[in-house]
């Protein structure tokens, strides 16, 4: 079940990429509906992926017809981000491939071309400002920790100076008193009404 959850997450990520990089659709149009199975040796897991022309579908323990099967360690697989490595890795015996080579190449190709603007992507969920901020903050995380102390100090100092020094103007005070009197009268009228209603 955990594996199914993980493949569901992988599928979600791939489909997010698809929505961010519409060019992926064109790159995969030739291998639509073909099933690529990737065996990750270190995890002893095989993940099958197919592109339907609409979206990606990813499955674990897929036992149906497969068009291309590749098997390698996670290290080797991560080198596939560079498509020119594929044939070298096969020759060196680091990667086994059975079936349609073009399918593996097509997938390798799209990952090499990916250049995702994560701030743009995040903004869909949390809005532009926070997304920019989040990405910035992640980048500057270390720096910020150092700065935080200083920032806190100036902020509190500013607070005390600007906010607490404010005095109430006499006119404001008079207005406030008038409002209170009015409110008192309203309340009295209301009280009377309620008493009448209750007495009925």
């Amino acid at each position: 079940m955990i594996n199914t959850l993980l493949t569901a997450t992988a599928e979600h990520i791939l489909n997010t990429i698809l929505s961010l990089e519409p060019s992926v659709q064109a790159s995969l149009s030739k291998v639509q509906h073909q099933v690529l199975a990737v065996e990750v040796r270190d995890w002893q897991q095989t993940i099958a992926v197919t592109f339907t022309g609409h979206s990606f579908m990813v499955f674990n323990n897929y036992q149906e017809h497969i068009d291309c099967h590749i098997s390698a360690s996670i290290d080797t697989l991560s080198q596939l981000k560079d498509p020119s490595q594929l044939t070298r890795l096969i020759r060196q015996g680091e990667l086994d491939l059975e079936g349609n080579l073009h399918l593996a190449q097509a997938y390798s190709q799209i990952f090499s071309e990916l250049d995702i603007d994560w701030a743009e992507h995040l903004s869909k969920y949390v809005g532009d400002g926070p997304a920019q901020l989040l990405v910035q903050q992640l980048r500057q995380a270390k720096q910020r920790t150092k700065q935080l102390d200083g920032v806190l100090k100036t902020t509190t100092a500013g607070l005390f100076q600007d906010e607490l020094k404010v005095a109430i103007h006499p006119l404001e005070m008079a207005q406030f008193k008038a409002h209170t009197r009015e409110l008192k009268q309203h309340a009295a009228v209301l009280e009377q009404r309620i008493n009448q209603l209750l007495a009925r």
Partner: protein, 251 residues
């Protein structure tokens, strides 16, 4: 004794006349249709999506296939199959209940999936298709609502092409005692309460809980499939047997 067995059937824990069950089931699903999807997510904590994924992975559905998503309701499986079969295939969303079909049709239309999907009102016991015409049939969380399950299985067998397969996704029996206690408490106390709060309908959700308990266990259902003619039948338990996925082939 035999007489009375044939004239009555279960409706949850109640016993009702055989001819009444279908319309009582219909009432349940008419009343839950609008809130069905949100309740599904709530009731199963979203896990029903994982169960369905597993069914799709085992379905062998491919480009060009004709697929029947029987008792398909609001069309979760149909949405995936529609993409897998592509323009050259077709998917039929079949359900006895037009309220569920309507909710399904609206949802799939909103997802932009239309061209290869048909919506047909049908009873699983008498499927309106010629012999040997369907590649894959799925019935997810539907079989337990069917009055005559044997007739339904025979009907599915008849319309499958040789080489075709049936997948049954259904609540089943868990073998863990602890899990089964938690599950009982959940389904007879929490479930109807959630049903009341979200869909204002605790009775329908009580029926769902009861009908799950009345459904045949894994081995029994496997036997029923074999009696109907299916071969190479097997099942896999999910979430400790709370749900089982049965599969059988026609050759």
């Amino acid at each position: 004794m035999k007489e009375s067995q044939q004239n009555t059937t279960d409706f949850g824990y109640k016993t009702v006349a055989r001819e009444e069950k279908a319309s009582m089931v219909a009432d349940v699903f008419h009343s839950v249709a609008a809130k069905y999807d949100i309740m599904n997510d709530l009731m199963s904590f979203g896990i029903h999506r994982l169960w369905k994924r597993q069914a799709i992975a085992c379905s062998g559905v491919r480009k060009g296939h004709t697929v029947l998503d029987l008792a398909g309701g609001t069309g979760d499986l149909t949405a995936k199959f529609s993409q897998l079969v592509g323009d050259t295939g077709r998917v039929i969303l079949g359900d006895i209940n037009d309220s569920m079909l309507k909710v399904g049709r609206d949802k799939l239309r909103d997802l932009g999936l239309v061209s290869n999907i048909e919506y047909v009102q049908m009873n699983a016991e008498a499927l309106p298709f010629p012999d040997n015409s369907i590649d894959v049939i799925t019935i997810a969380f539907g079989l337990r609502n069917v009055t005559d399950k044997d007739a339904a299985l025979r009907s599915m067998y008849r319309i499958l092409k040789p080489g075709g397969r049936l997948l049954i996704l259904e609540f089943s029996k868990t073998d863990s005692e602890a899990l089964s206690k938690i599950y009982d408490f959940y389904s007879f106390n929490l479930l109807p309460t959630m049903g009341k709060l979200v869909a204002n309908d605790s009775e329908s959700y009580r029926y769902l809980a009861e009908s799950i308990r009345m459904h045949p266990d894994q081995e029994t259902l496997k036997g029923m499939m074999e009696t109907a003619g299916f071969e190479q039948t097997s099942y896999q338990n999910m979430t400790g047997g709370i749900v089982a996925l049965h599969r059988g082939f026609k050759y």
